[in-house]
């Protein structure tokens, strides 16, 4: 019996159309526009001016606080403008537009393909390097990595849990990375273990990625303390709390962080970026993105520069299909439908999914038939059918008692509901209001 998390979970169709497509390096586009807020936390502060010449890997915006991250240029060229443009959030955000000239990398970056296994740096030095490189959680949450590595006083980390589940349907970026860059990932994991001072790491991989599991298991033999844990397929196994439950059978309490049960979770993509930053001095300016969809001509996995317009990625995958209904940044479950495809890809863009019109439309909403399917689907043990009307009627005290703040916005409830009720839409609104009430109470 394979392990998985205990509460709820759903099984949407896999649709991993691009699983067999090797990672393709996408050449830099003619122009990139790099937003200075690509992470959770304070936006970075721009340190370049208009008409400045920049090289690949050069810092263009400095971290703007404790929870923030450096931003680097992903291309070489001239800064054209620094102004607000639309990003994937559908709002205008400050971003640095650079006209690409050649492809000149900073000399400090080691571009040789050899894998460097040995890392003699201390934990502090590792964390400093990760901070400089502007690494954030690449699973989609984009939480600055260095903050997660600084264990709060009074708590100790025991296990590092590595997220290789990629439970979102369609996406295959992590899968391909584990197949092609397995060894680098594992070096990254051992560096992270050193930074956290733990001697045990578990890489959780869902067993719909048999090749990746086999490859990682073979490679992991050479690394001390790292084990591979195949997991039963279930969405949302990539959620931190779900993954911890599945891999080490511990339950993170309501409102608590993974560290409260002695664990830290990092994504395989993040581990790879850590490897590149620490061993190769390469800041985070490119990542693997899956471009996919049933009507897309050539679903693919691209290694693309941050700031590349999504239109370029879609072009490279065979162009925008005629029946496009929605363009989603991320996967179908937690991704965000975009206003247009001109927005740039960022550190958090794990995929671009193109949904045909008939799949993209919401279905007719009907009354709740009290089937409790949403209750059994919810991985956090909540009662979505009850939270929706509470949020609609603004009964926030009851909503708080229903633990609305525990909702991880995985969308399992809305997905299973046979009446197509917009459960998560309302829960999200309620969560925002309850969050604001709780914050004002603390003051």
């Amino acid at each position: 019996m394979l392990k998985t998390f205990s509460k709820g979970g759903i099984h949407p169709p896999d649709n991993k159309l691009s699983a067999e497509k090797a990672i393709e390096v996408l050449p830099p586009p003619e122009m990139v526009s790099i937003p200075i807020s690509q992470h959770i936390g304070a936006p970075a502060k721009v340190v370049v001016k208009k008409n400045d010449k920049v090289k690949v890997g050069q810092i263009i915006a400095e971290s703007g606080g404790f929870v923030s991250a450096n931003i680097h240029s992903s291309v070489s060229g001239t800064v054209l403008k620094i102004e607000e443009t639309f990003d994937a959030s559908g709002y205008k955000r400050m971003s640095v537009t650079i006209k690409v000239e050649g492809d000149e990398w900073l000399e400090t970056i080691d571009r040789k393909p050899e894998i460097i296994q040995e890392c003699l740096l201390s934990a502090e030095e590792i964390i400093a390097k990760i901070t400089t490189a502007g690494i954030v959680g690449l699973g989609g949450a984009t939480f600055p990595t260095q903050v997660k590595l600084m264990v709060p006083r009074g708590m100790t980390a025991e296990v590092l849990v590595i997220n290789g589940v990629e439970c979102e349907p369609y996406l295959t970026a992590d899968d391909r990375l584990m197949l092609e860059k397995g060894e680098e990932i594992l070096v990254g994991v051992s560096i992270l273990m050193k930074a956290l001072n733990v001697n045990k790491a578990i890489v959780g991989i869902e067993n719909n990625k048999l090749l990746a599991i086999a490859n990682m298991e073979k490679l992991a033999k050479k690394f001390q303390g790292i084990s591979i844990q195949p997991l039963k397929v279930s969405y949302p196994q990539g959620g931190e709390k779900q993954l911890i439950k599945a891999c080490i059978n511990r339950e993170v309490p309501s409102g608590g962080l993974p560290i409260s049960v002695g664990s830290v979770v990092q994504n395989v993509g993040t581990a790879f970026a850590v490897y590149e930053a620490v061993q190769k001095n390469k800041p985070l300016f490119e990542r693997v993105v899956t471009v996919t969809g049933k009507s897309v001509k050539k679903p693919a996995n691209f290694l693309a520069r941050i700031g590349t317009p999504l239109t370029n990625l879609i072009e490279a995958a065979g162009g925008l299909p005629d029946d496009t209904g929605k363009i989603v940044s991320g996967g179908p479950m937690m991704g965000k439908a975009l206003k247009n495809a001109e927005v740039p890809m960022t550190k958090g863009t794990s995929g671009v999914l193109i949904l045909p019109t008939e799949e993209a439309k919401r279905k007719t909403v009907q009354e709740c038939i009290r089937c409790a399917k949403c209750v059994s689907a919810c991985p956090m043990g909540l009662e979505p059918y009850l939270m929706m009307p509470l949020s609609e009627r603004k009964i926030f005290d009851k909503l708080e008692k229903e633990r609305v703040m525990d909702c991880i916005e995985c969308g399992s409830c809305s997905y299973t509901c046979p009446s197509n009720r917009p459960l998560l839409d309302y829960i999200r609104l309620g969560k925002a209001s309850v969050g604001a009430i709780m914050r004002s109470r603390k003051k």
Partner: protein, 304 residues
């Protein structure tokens, strides 16, 4: 047989009497003496239970009035000054007259001025359409500040005072019905609706725009956006206009309704409502001034 009936009647009556006695003493012991003035005040209030006063309903507001030392921070917008005066009389407390207000929708971005650049797939039958759209992205036009047209404000109005105009797809307030209860102001996720001081003839002059982007970007998203060109600010003889965050704002208390700014605005962002028709000359002139930004900045330079 009759015995059973009689015994039953006797037992039940005895239990009844005993319960009544107990209840009498309990009631004596736990009697809550309520200030009779609360009832009086409640009667004086409009019983709209709309929450515009900031309390859950009319009775809690009445309780607060009775308890409070003075009535300075308590106001029933629905009843207005008259009702507050009678509440003051009942309680023997002084009441300061408050200017009566009315809701004003500060967005003129009808579809012909502001193109839809995406479609929001609103769940059918949702009561909180604007809030939902706002939670997901900036909105279905390129103006991330403007009205979403979903009618959350309409849904909360207890007085049938605000409706979406099907042509402009924007909400419109019926001044006579609006009680300035603030419900729509709170409901609007974009903070578009403002309560402005009323005047005798319900005349209003206001900047009908909340876009805080730079002029070029605002104008690109919407033809009737305020571009913060400063023209209205310069022309206003009463210093009623301030410009901050790339947006002009007219202070209703300082504005003397001279309408000078209205004809000055190159994008028609300033609205005048409730005035008699202007002389035709000005009207046509205004409609024909399709000034684009390039021309405008050129003219500005020439002037300097």
């Amino acid at each position: 047989m009759t015995d059973i009936v009689i015994y039953t009647i006797i037992t039940i009556s005895t239990i009844g009497v005993i319960a009544a006695v107990i209840l009498y003493f309990v009631a004596q012991k736990f009697q809550v003496i309520e200030d009779p003035r609360i009832d009086l005040v409640e009667e004086a209030l409009p019983s709209a239970n709309c929450g515009g006063c900031g309390f859950p309903g009319c009775r809690p507001f009445a309780e607060a009035c009775v308890k409070a030392e003075n009535l300075d921070n308590l106001f029933c917008p629905v009843g207005g000054n008259d009702v507050m005066a009678s509440v003051g009389k009942i309680l023997g407390k002084e009441v300061l007259a408050v200017d009566s207000k009315v809701a004003v929708v500060r967005c003129s971005g009808a579809p012909q001025f502001r193109k839809n650049t995406s479609i929001f797939d609103s769940p059918q039958g949702a009561t909180l359409s604007c809030a939902m759209e706002h939670a997901l992205y900036g909105g279905h036009t390129d103006c991330t500040y403007g009205c979403l047209g979903g009618g959350d404000c309409v849904a909360v109005c207890n007085f049938d005072a605000i409706h979406i105009n099907p042509i402009t797809q924007l909400p419109e307030v019926i001044d006579e019905k609006c009680t300035a209860c603030n419900a729509c102001v709170v409901a609007c996720p974009k903070d578009i609706i403002e309560l402005r001081t009323r005047n005798k003839k319900d005349r209003k002059i206001f900047v009908s725009c909340v876009n805080m982007d730079k002029g070029v970007s605002a104008k690109k998203a919407c033809d009737v956006a305020c571009i913060a060109c400063n023209k209205c600010f310069k022309v206003c003889p009463y210093n009623a206009i301030t410009i901050s965050n790339n947006l002009a704002f007219i202070d209703a208390d300082a504005c003397k309704l001279c309408r000078k700014c209205v004809s000055e605005c190159p994008t028609n962002a300033i609205l005048e409502i409730g005035f008699p028709e202007r002389k035709i000359k000005v009207e046509t002139e205004k409609k024909e001034t399709e000034i684009n930004l390039v021309e405008m900045s050129k003219k500005n330079k020439e002037n300097e």
